[in-house]
Symmetry: C3
Subunit: 406 residues, 3 copies
Amino acid sequence: MVRTTLMARNTDMRWRLPLVCLLWEVAMIVLFGIFVRFNPEADAAGWQKEKHHKNITSDVENDFYFRYPSFQDVHVMIFVGFGFLMTFLQRYGFGAVGFNFLLAAFGIQWAILMQGWFHTFEQGKILIGVESLINADFCVGSVCIAFGAVLGKVSPVQLLIMTLFQVTLFSVNEYILLDLLHIRDAGGSMTIHTFGAYFGLTVATILYRPNLEQTKAKQSSNYHSDLFAMIGTLFLWMYWPSFNSAVSSHGDAQHRAVINTYCSLAACVLTTVAFSSMLQKKGKLNMPFLESRLRIQDTCGVHNLHGMPGIIGGIVGAVTAAAATEGVYGKEGQVKASTFTLEKLTVLCYTGTQDAATCGILKLPFFGDPTDENCFEDNVYWEVPGDEEANLYCMHDSNEKSVTDQ
Amino acid sequence: MVRTTLMARNTDMRWRLPLVCLLWEVAMIVLFGIFVRFNPEADAAGWQKEKHHKNITSDVENDFYFRYPSFQDVHVMIFVGFGFLMTFLQRYGFGAVGFNFLLAAFGIQWAILMQGWFHTFEQGKILIGVESLINADFCVGSVCIAFGAVLGKVSPVQLLIMTLFQVTLFSVNEYILLDLLHIRDAGGSMTIHTFGAYFGLTVATILYRPNLEQTKAKQSSNYHSDLFAMIGTLFLWMYWPSFNSAVSSHGDAQHRAVINTYCSLAACVLTTVAFSSMLQKKGKLNMPFLESRLRIQDTCGVHNLHGMPGIIGGIVGAVTAAAATEGVYGKEGQVKASTFTLEKLTVLCYTGTQDAATCGILKLPFFGDPTDENCFEDNVYWEVPGDEEANLYCMHDSNEKSVTDQ
Amino acid sequence: MVRTTLMARNTDMRWRLPLVCLLWEVAMIVLFGIFVRFNPEADAAGWQKEKHHKNITSDVENDFYFRYPSFQDVHVMIFVGFGFLMTFLQRYGFGAVGFNFLLAAFGIQWAILMQGWFHTFEQGKILIGVESLINADFCVGSVCIAFGAVLGKVSPVQLLIMTLFQVTLFSVNEYILLDLLHIRDAGGSMTIHTFGAYFGLTVATILYRPNLEQTKAKQSSNYHSDLFAMIGTLFLWMYWPSFNSAVSSHGDAQHRAVINTYCSLAACVLTTVAFSSMLQKKGKLNMPFLESRLRIQDTCGVHNLHGMPGIIGGIVGAVTAAAATEGVYGKEGQVKASTFTLEKLTVLCYTGTQDAATCGILKLPFFGDPTDENCFEDNVYWEVPGDEEANLYCMHDSNEKSVTDQ
């Protein structure tokens, strides 16, 4: 009884969620109308001029054909990969897939605008093409990572606000790193993984819930929820070569990025299995491999999964780039590869603190965040079809007990 | 007891289904042998001539490379997308995926022939290439949509007969719209969505079952069946840019179709979430988003999902095309885009009535359609592994009750 | 009590699995460091030379762009396709997906080395590019097929040892067939399917367990495990055109391979449904279609699924190639296609016996294979989240009985 009242007080989304969604979608449409135009490769008149100008005879030389397959792979990673990766919680599958879907769909629109203003703004217009779509997906990828740290503990309205802030900050950060400091960040180890992980952890810290240990049962997985999570894990793993190569320079660079990612990923599986087995007292494995054990306040273990690896990736990248010689990369290759500097690491520091300030807004009381006992529970924000059955089960369990007690 | 007898009388597929499958497959093989040949891009001798004729030096200029990635995406939409979209019914997952698989596999063969006779028939032969495969998948997509309206209420034999009629009518309709009336139908809003939806609704009306309300329980979903349905939903959503651009003209047009679809789809998610939340009295969301509430006789809600949007798409397309100016599309672009006319809407009207006549045949009594109480139940046409357990559960529930009653 | 002791004795992987994984990964890294280099299309300096040498002006003429989409499809087949295909066992989903993941990740590394030494070894170095990745995936595909025959009956350490042997033998076999005997093996009917199936069956025979009938219950599927298996089945089916065409010659040959596979696969669905329905006494269908009934010692029915079809494919290929005339394929085409000979079948015979000897090693007692009662049970090698509940259910079932007995 008490529980129902609490739910009603806190988490009724009926007007808040539609209002935020519609308001922001209207804003997006207006801003797209004012600012967004096709770039010359996607514009009818522009492409005619481009072909004439560059002496191109065939329509299939449009850059579209050499970016689109990778784009679709990245798209699957964002929506199926991240969405299903987080379905392991036994009562939060709808939230994992559905809220990931919602925040990513909003995020890519805002990312196209933000990244456009910083990178492809010409004569008052943002010019977009298939590469803009890939970059928007990347940006949203960092929000999906951050979502992992607060999974089950926030309302959809809070998630949308978090997305707005994170995409904004991501774009500023990316502009500073790539455009001002001329850092090369292959695979987005800094801009996407490290940034996403620490942004999420900062939000999780701000929204810290001291009494969350009580809901331990809901934070566990079950047999089928783990298999659903494996769908996400595998799609993330399989398409990672596309993620790392989607916006590489054409030719040898893109080819190489794929090969390197493929080989590294295969090696990682063996190492992960080895440590997973070694750390369990009977040598059993966990599902999915890449998930660390659940820890309160960092639901998905994003620190281990994206934070530390991102920093390691940054350092290794710096060392490798410093060691790149003309012999290995050829004269042209070296110019492309060696612009990476250690400034990268300095920039990292300010990022972690910067978002702390901006997202304090999330603690405001009217965003419909769940009470502690409603965390990790789809029933709060979703019509759950099995709910009557679930209640039946509870009753039946207690009957069971009384029978046994007889 | 009575139930088993009814099932045996009505739905034993042992000879009817194999007979129809083998008969039709033999017919397909014979017709393919007589009529189907590779087009010049796929034929060994033809491609040598084509290269010589068009002064092409490289094999990678074959159109295959600029259509194939989109084809595979569309293929995934048809089989995984539509198949899993309809797994939400708790006891009809096998039927959803399996019958969708069956009808699509048959449909694409018949579609290659029908579309071939209308579009690529030369000197007594149908010439096929990768674009034929995409068009066959599109055609079958409209059957998958119609399947949604009769899901759980028809036998596999009825579905195969429906597919035969629908593919035939689809091809005639497509020929009239695209070849005779020179209508441009980007994304197939008329030929695929509207046609598929109203064909399916017509069939559902013909097969109307007045007493179906009784099986309400079976028409509901459960927690995991909804997550399976989300796999289908996401693959349909993610690959929609490929669906809308797969047969576009190469270059800027294909590029633009992808960007437009990507942005529109993102906007739709927010709008759908807003309305879904607004229409539920506690603001909770449904899974999957795009599914309307289940209503008897239109299992999947195809009217809302494909019918109305298809018509809206047609009207908006007409208005947009009328407004296209030389300034926006360039001289060449305008010629390509502006052939759309309002005749489109006129044609729609005859389609809805035409199929009513042809598919009356489905009411004939010997196709093995299920009784009302066997609707939405895999057990009728599939060996269901958990069945003994299911019975056990039923028994056990009644035991439970008697224990409680003591 | 006894059971726990047996488990501890036999199947504790804590040191054996990590040791094997790390040892082999270190070996891989050392061997890659010594032997593996990028081929000219993937190497920075090499690609500059290649462009200059072949008078190529654009980076998008890199072979990467005409192989990569197919590669990604094949990659999905190996990891999601084969992984989920085998999830039908109700208590072995983690093992199916997870061990497939593990063996494939190890296998592709060893395959790159083995196939490299045989095929692309120049001046002491193995030169790799995107085609090497596809070929490594193919090779591992044959291991996944063999895994199907021993599914649920071996430990992860045994699987890794089996993978090491099978990849080695696969590469030798492939070298003899393709390089020495100049056999054309489109779709890998001999090298992948027949080899994989009979290798797996040989291993299953060597590891024969006479008393396995007792665990019949665990060898069955349940409703949701069958739906998970359908995900695997569909991805294997949908991407088969990519599998068969991924390393074909560019141009018409690759185009044709896709069309032929697409049409054949569609025809197979109808035939399979027909026989599936005909062989069941009430005409009901099985899930998934392509799975034969479970038979002890060949868990997945690989003989029916890959063995026989592979041999049939070989014979049909031989007949077809013999019948290929200049008229159909053009002069150049014929030279490419007609090198197939019946020697193929002779070679097959030695393969089956060869692996019998080499994999006898798997019977050694210290690899942690499960006891008969632990077969087909995830609990042995995995932390299973629902386990406490599973135990609860067992207890509760016996309570149930006693209640009923009263």
